[in-house]
Symmetry: C2
Subunit: 475 residues, 2 copies
């Protein structure tokens, strides 16, 4: 899908370790056709949706069908000190799936069973390869839903590994708050369980949350128990335009501060609206816009919506559109859903490089306004969308992938953005993870001491550095 481009220099360590033919032979003997060394299969598993594409693919791909398959693969690889890279559906944006040190990719896609739905407890246990849309389809009849919605239809395993979130996090939290327990294959190929189905616990170290967000570097997540939520009795959505990004952000701050349990509050900047208008033949006001959604009882949704409209109007919000039926809501959310594609299509042959900073909401306007000015000055086309209730936003820099100058400019812009977010007590990544791209940022953000502690944990739990090596930090 992605044409190879000159991004090699961005990858901090490409240090291909040898994968001995004996290991491949053992894997093939054990897994038969479920261990593939076909180039097309390996290439498909050696890339993701990030800009990294020139790394050699993994030496083989094992299609796991059960936890024991994963454990067996890890044990075989461990015996040869060969890296293991778990693969869900390949939607990482930060190079998590690339075999930068060589090794074996474990495709989790066939581990796609919903194992048990416990509707009374609002929990469900799934295999790691279940995608979020599949999960919601399978629990629909219970009247419950799983709210975490990264843009892609990612796997629950991958979402756990990157501590993903999305548009509903302002109300329902991220994977951090919604994973109750895990089954994990450790670096030695042992199977452990973390957490229970109890909603809270003070029993020992929180291994669940240590694994959530560890990006495959501490173990392979094979099963996940997550929280579900009752489908709201009523849902209402709204769009509202603002004269400035600041007015939209000020509105958001006030909504959050008043404790209004808003389910979604997304910012779309004027560029993105313009691109969506062109792409979808719409005529939305080409101004910064908030897209909001309210969940609750009919009366509560109505009350929330009225209060929010009052707040927005105080900040010169206008051109309200309301929607309560699913069809109307879909129409309103089209702008948000289509932003990425509308952006890509706004410039022929471009690629979007996505930023992912997140700051305390009081610093959001400062962070956004200065960064917008910088991108405007750079001449790089872009769009801006944000989960602004959480202080998280994404610039999509629309660069010509063949222009080293534009790549470098985008890098510079992102560097400046991250530096600004960190100075404002924020984080370099709200939901995409560190992967290959943000290791330096992690050190700046967390400090040498905290990263040293992370590395100490990594060394202790993965002494031969075989679990997705070269991601998060160099060993």
């Amino acid at each position: 899908m992605n044409a190879p481009t000159a991004v090699q220099h961005l990858i901090p360590e490409v240090n291909q370790r040898e994968v001995p033919p004996a290991l491949i032979a053992e894997l093939k003997a054990h897994f038969g056709e479920r261990c593939s060394t076909a180039l097309v299969v390996r290439e498909q598993h050696g890339r993701d949706e990030s800009a990294y594409t020139t790394v050699p693919p993994p030496a083989a791909v094992v299609f796991a069908e059960c936890t024991d398959d994963v454990a067996q693969t890890v044990r075989m690889a461990a015996a040869h000190r060969v890296p293991i890279i778990p693969f869900g559906v390949g939607t990482s944006l930060e190079g998590h799936l690339l075999a930068v040190q060589g090794g074996i990719s474990i495709d989790m896609g066939r581990m796609n069973k919903v194992l048990s739905i416990n509707a009374e407890d609002l929990t469900v246990t799934v295999q790691a390869g279940v995608t979020r849309k599949q999960l919601n389809e399978e629990v629909k009849s219970t009247g419950l839903f799983f709210p975490i919605d990264p843009g892609a239809d990612a796997t629950i395993g991958g979402m756990s590994a990157t501590r993903a979130s999305g548009t509903n996090a302002v109300r329902y939290g991220t994977m951090r708050e919604n994973v109750l327990g895990l089954e994990v294959v450790t670096a030695s190929g042992e199977v452990i369980r973390t957490g229970t189905r109890a909603r809270k616990s003070s029993a020992g170290y929180d291994l669940t949350r240590l694994m959530v967000g560890s990006e495959g570097t501490l173990g392979v997540i094979t099963e996940i128990t997550v929280k579900l939520y009752p489908l709201p009795e009523a849902v209402s959505a709204a769009t509202c335009s603002f004269p400035s990004i600041e007015a939209a952000v000020r509105t958001t701050i006030q909504i959050i501060q008043m404790g209004i349990p808003i389910a979604r509050v997304e910012l779309i900047d004027a560029n993105a609206v313009r691109m969506v208008n062109a792409h979808s033949k719409l005529s939305l006001p080409e101004q910064p816009m908030l897209l909001m959604e309210f969940h609750g009882s009919p009366a509560s949704v109505k009350e929330q919506a009225e209060t929010v409209q009052e707040i927005a109007t105080e900040h010169e919000g206008h051109a309200f559109e309301w929607a309560t039926t699913p069809e109307e809501r879909t129409r309103l959310w089209t702008a948000r859903h289509n932003t990425y594609f509308a952006g890509i299509q706004s410039r022929p042959s471009c690629r979007a490089i996505s930023t992912d900073t997140c700051v305390p909401i009081s610093r959001l306007a400062d962070c956004l306004l200065d960064s917008v000015a910088e991108v405007d000055a750079s001449g790089i086309p872009y769009f801006l969308v944000g989960h602004v209730g959480d202080g998280n936003f994404h610039f999509g820099y629309l660069i010509d992938p063949n222009s080293d100058h534009e790549r470098a400019t985008a890098e510079d812009l992102n560097n400046q953005l991250v530096a600004r977010a960190l100075a404002l007590e924020g984080t370099c990544t709200g939901e995409h993870g560190i992967g290959l791209h943000k290791m330096d940022f992690l050190v700046t953000e967390a400090g040498v001491g905290a990263v040293a502690m992370m590395r100490t944990i990594k060394h202790a739990l993965d002494p031969h550095n075989i679990m997705n090596p070269g991601k998060v930090f160099l060993y």
Copy 2:
């Protein structure tokens, strides 16, 4: 406060390490009067609210006034391989504060400053010795509050270390969900920071949540950034009596399943009501009772309350009392707040031994009914209270502390209760922690492999086992 009793056998390891006089001399030279070796001070810091009382006290107590004091103490102790035990206000229920391997207690009580309130972001950063009531007092003028409320007025540091919760967790979560970041002194005396003020992040391993609930065994928590919430516009409380515990639990399950954002839902059994009636000269119906609280807009609170009353009535709930003014609410909550003291006073010279299991809510009735039958059969007086919206409950076994038989019976009852909770996919501790008492339970609950992983982390981060040693697990 606690008379010494014959509980020595309950402590898994009392292995006093030598505290060299040279270390005491160094501490005294550095801290002057802020390092005390007075017996009364040491004894006060060598116990908590658990039943463990016969362990020798720590060799000295350092009264820290800043993070550097903590770091300095840890570095001095580390040089001599001497244990460090952080002390907040001494309200642990599981022996966390006892110097089972000797060592130095660090009293965090003077680190009681609220460092920065960020009302727009709904966050506050405090020193570890700030108590929850002090915190709420200091943020009151902002219109925000901190909801986590263990029974005692514990410190935010201690609450973080034990992953505490309380009656509001059903709506607002536990310390796990509410700590955004920490400052921690590591086992080598280094100061690190975990997390940022951003509400979400995917930046590296979740050291914040590794430290939250680590019971002082991985580092000393010195500063904490927590989430705040807007004080609800309206609050309404209610009590409701039920013919059986099962009816009260079924009501709770339905409330949660319908997604009603109830702020508190507490169970008090008939014994507890009887004890409270005697203690406070009340005449509440001596039946299982739910105490509930609703937060939101006036209309939303009214709607929640009406829906809950309908649900409760379906389950034969009756004798509703409603309260909307603070004074009326206080009256209704008196029963809950006085349970512990009413229980203690119901039997002269008794002590209450508190259990802390937590199960998925669908298993709660099973777990409670069988356990109630067991306690009834044992003849030990008891009361039962529960944060039933979370599936967490506490039996208070009211034993004669001088009766080995009653102690052993209470131990047996708790063993049976924990075994049952684990069989029902629950946890041995919802909010009190493992401490000295539940190490065996932790292994049963988490499994040998997961505990081995915890121990590997402990060994890596605290290679000389000086951070609150002998708690959570033996090294």
